[in-house]
């Protein structure tokens, strides 16, 4: 039995952009009012009539396997835990901002209150450890989010990935995110 490697599948076709996930995240993780760990952006309309489309984009940490935010951290406050989740050790963080500039997904921010770097953790301490799912996954009214172990071929997330084409954001950068996305199938190709 190897380590777990947690990932999340986001179906942008099922998503309706309701922001319930973002609100749940804020409540669960006591995110400061001025910042977000998670937003769902509605992009469009794109294309030409009648083949118009609206794309939904989950803006959050994508949990890179090769996370650019980790090696740059001068104190080791940014680290990857044994279950593949990239975390910040608030006590070791000096708030230099290097990880924030290094993240290609604009996922991080300096917490206005503590002055330390923060971001989505898949609710690791508060929900994953006790065996629950991340807050966004639990609240989503359309089941657009599936959470699970990417190392377990029988997990719900692996089964779902096998059934359909998926993408990862900014794949060219070789960060290999564990947030996996089912891209929009509706509307024109542009």
């Amino acid at each position: 039995m190897g380590n777990k490697r947690y990932g999340m599948l986001y179906d942008s076709n099922a998503c309706i952009g309701c922001q319930a996930c973002s609100i749940a995240c804020r409540a669960e993780n006591k995110v400061h009012d001025d910042v977000h760990r998670l937003q769902v952006r509605i992009e469009g309309p794109k294309g030409e009539f009648p083949n118009l489309r609206m794309d939904f984009h989950r803006q959050s940490c994508v949990m890179c396997d090769n996370a650019p935010c980790v090696p740059v951290c001068p104190t080791g406050a940014s680290y990857t835990n044994e279950e593949g989740i990239n975390m910040v050790d608030e006590k070791k963080c000096v708030g230099c901002g290097y990880c924030i500039t290094a993240c290609p997904y604009q996922a991080r921010y300096l917490d206005p209150k503590t002055g330390t770097a923060d971001k989505c953790t898949f609710c690791y301490e508060n929900r994953i450890k006790p065996g629950e799912k991340p807050a966004c996954v639990s609240i989503c009214p359309t089941n657009a989010l599936i959470f699970g172990d990417l190392n377990d071929p029988n997990s719900g997330i692996c089964q779902a990935i096998k059934k359909q084409a998926t993408i990862k954001y900014k794949e060219l950068l070789h960060t290999n995110p564990k947030l996996i996305v089912i891209p929009n199938r509706h509307g024109g190709e542009k």
């Binding site: 952009g17 973002s22 740059v72 951290c73 001068p74 000096v94 290097y98 290094a102 993240c103 060219l172």
Partner: protein, 325 residues
């Protein structure tokens, strides 16, 4: 009005602001001033005392790096936790390597300045009591001669270049993620250090400045300026050739908004073509002539232009680099 998904300020905000831009400038200035002091040292007859340019170099290099460090610390999200940086190292992080370099550099820089002003400090009644107990350490370093100089030169090159590696390590920022950035920062840092040293030496230490040294540095700086222009050319052509987001960002940085203006008018115009013009029209005659008086005015104008260009280059790279992504 916010969109339904909320405020997006955090996604457009500049993470590293003016403090870091000024720090990048000061680190390069300090390293450059030290390098010019040592270059002058190597070609002077030291029995006549230290050249005014060396004194100017020390007077710039130490305060510049100290002020830079202060800016760096107070820009942290948790300024009073800066000591953590000294207890947890991560050699994969350019910033952590920078912390090590900066500690050694600023310590030895203090010694270097003390060596150059040994006579002044030891003889002045205000400083002598505090200075004399350390005299044996200072003289030990002085006795190392060229060895000490070389260590300082290597450290200075390290300081100027690491500020470039710090930014070029950022895969997320195409304008900064280019291999020539450390070289650009090194060359422009040395250029700013020479300009600063020349200005300070002709204002404060004019009696002890040897004109042959002054002319030597001036002609050295004259070669650095076209080199910088060429590196900028290589950098942007490289960005275009890399294609994709690199090409898009390269084009945006040269054409859009305030930062494009800063680049063309500030960096290329004021900072590089300006000094070339002053040198061709006025300072060149001085370099060639054996008995012309030191043209203080033209030298100060020239130094002012170079320094303005170099500081604008740091602001441009940092701000445009974080804006166009």
């Amino acid at each position: 009005m916010d969109q339904i998904w909320g405020n997006t300020t955090q996604y457009t905000e500049i993470v590293w602001g003016w403090q870091i831009a000024v720090y990048l400038f000061l680190a390069g200035l300090s390293a450059g001033a030290l390098i010019s002091a040592i270059l002058v040292k190597w070609r002077s007859n030291l029995s006549a005392g230290y050249d005014g340019i060396m004194k100017a170099g020390a007077v710039i290099a130490l305060p510049a790096i100290s002020l830079g460090l202060a800016l760096l610390v107070f820009d942290l999200g948790k300024p009073f936790s800066f000591w953590l940086l000294m207890f947890h190292f991560n050699l994969k992080s350019v910033m952590s390597i920078g912390v090590i370099l900066l500690s050694v550099y600023s310590g030895l820089m203090t010694v270097f300045a003390a060596v150059i002003f040994k006579k002044e400090f030891a003889e002045n009644s205000l400083t002598a009591w505090a200075f004399r107990p350390f005299l044996f350490i200072i003289e030990w370093f002085e006795g190392l001669g060229k060895w000490f100089d070389w260590v300082m030169v290597v450290l200075a090159i390290g300081i100027a270049a690491y500020t470039g590696f710090l930014l070029s390590a950022l895969v997320a920022k195409p304008l900064l993620n280019v291999p020539v950035l450390p070289l650009l920062f090194l060359i422009s840092g040395i250029s700013s250090g020479i300009a600063g040293s020349i200005a300070v030496s002709v204002i404060f230490f004019k009696q002890s400045v040897q004109e042959s040294n002054l002319k030597y540095l001036l002609s050295f700086d004259t070669k650095l300026i076209p080199t910088e222009l060429f590196i900028l050319f290589v950098m942007f052509i490289g960005l275009f050739n890399m294609g994709g987001q690199y090409a898009i960002v390269g084009q945006q940085a040269l054409t859009i908004g305030i930062w494009a203006k800063v680049f063309w008018a500030g960096i290329v115009g004021i900072g590089l073509l300006g000094p070339l013009l002053v040198i061709t029209l006025s300072l060149h005659q001085y370099e060639e002539s054996d008995h012309a008086p030191i043209p203080v005015g033209a030298l100060l104008v020239n130094s002012g232009l170079v320094l303005t260009g170099v500081i604008l280059l740091r602001f441009y790279m940092l701000y445009a680099g974080q804006t166009f992504i």
